[in-house]
């Protein structure tokens, strides 16, 4: 016995069903930027603390031999390594272009801070705009992480 709808009718029902499931699939949440990453957030906060300690120490040491670049080589190596680890981790996270660029930007700031340190600091005044710049950078990256954490999820 022939079906009430015939072959073309069945094909239409099938097409509508497929379209309906495509619609359902499209109703899953949209992601334009990466998910919040707790490890990145924690490591960045730790790195920011390390930088804050650097500026506190330099404020006390400036004008004394302790503040010389040679005494801070290990510090720069550590900071650059930590930033590199974070950047590599970030590369593995989908849609993380913005955070990757931010980390590269902080790396560049550290490189220039190191160059200035090699040239020598004569007074703490010289360090104030650098400290402010790095504080602003870390605040910006952490602010983005907080916004990623509080986004709407379906």
């Amino acid at each position: 016995m022939n079906s009430k709808y015939g072959y073309s009718g069945k094909r239409n029902v099938f097409s509508i069903t497929v379209l309906f499931f495509i619609f359902l699939y499209s109703c899953s949440s949209v992601r334009l930027i990466q998910e919040y990453d707790e490890i990145t957030d924690q490591k960045l906060t730790a790195l920011q603390e390390k930088m804050a300690r650097f500026f506190v120490k330099m404020e006390r040491q400036i004008g004394f031999p302790e503040s010389k670049y040679e005494n801070y080589i290990e510090f720069y190596d550590d900071v650059k390594t930590e930033l590199n680890v974070l950047e590599v981790r970030s590369r593995a996270i989908p849609k993380s272009d913005i955070v990757q660029q931010q980390l590269k930007s902080v790396q560049s700031q550290i490189t220039n801070l190191e160059k200035l340190h090699k040239l020598g600091f004569n007074s703490y005044e010289e360090l104030i705009p650098i400290r402010n710049a790095l504080d602003n950078s870390f605040a910006a990256i952490i602010q983005l992480q907080m916004s990623l954490k509080s986004r709407i999820k379906l």
Binding site: S29, I33, A133
Partner: protein
């Protein structure tokens, strides 16, 4: 005009207006954060200009200082871009949530 004569308030105002123009509808979400950061950026530029004018830093150092400020501003702008994307994403997902609720309610069980 010497760099030390920079009017900080005018600079902040002009930077804020430029950011506002570019960000358009996203400005509302990022305004408190953006204004604070742009103010700090302008103050740092002024500080560097004063250090150079007083002879406390030479040209080489001033260039490195400015490069740091430029990268810092870039980091801040990237956050503003990211917050804008999250705002757009939130708007889309809030709309989808309405669809989800309506569909689930109409069929009587959680299909979506």
């Amino acid at each position: 005009m010497p760099l030390t004569d920079i009017d900080i308030n005018t600079l902040i105002k002009e930077m804020t207006e430029a950011a506002k123009k570019e960000l358009k509808s996203k400005w509302k979400e990022v305004k408190p954060f953006a204004e604070q950061q742009l103010k700090s950026f302008a103050e740092n530029i002024k500080m560097i200009a004063v250090l150079k004018a007083k002879g406390k830093i030479n040209e080489e150092k001033a260039r490195l200082h400015l490069a740091i400020q430029k990268e810092s501003a870039r980091t801040v702008l990237l956050t503003i871009e990211g917050i804008g994307l999250i705002a757009a994403e939130n708007a889309i997902n809030a709309a989808l949530k309405v669809v989800q609720t309506t569909v689930n309610k109409s069929i009587g069980w959680a299909l979506l």
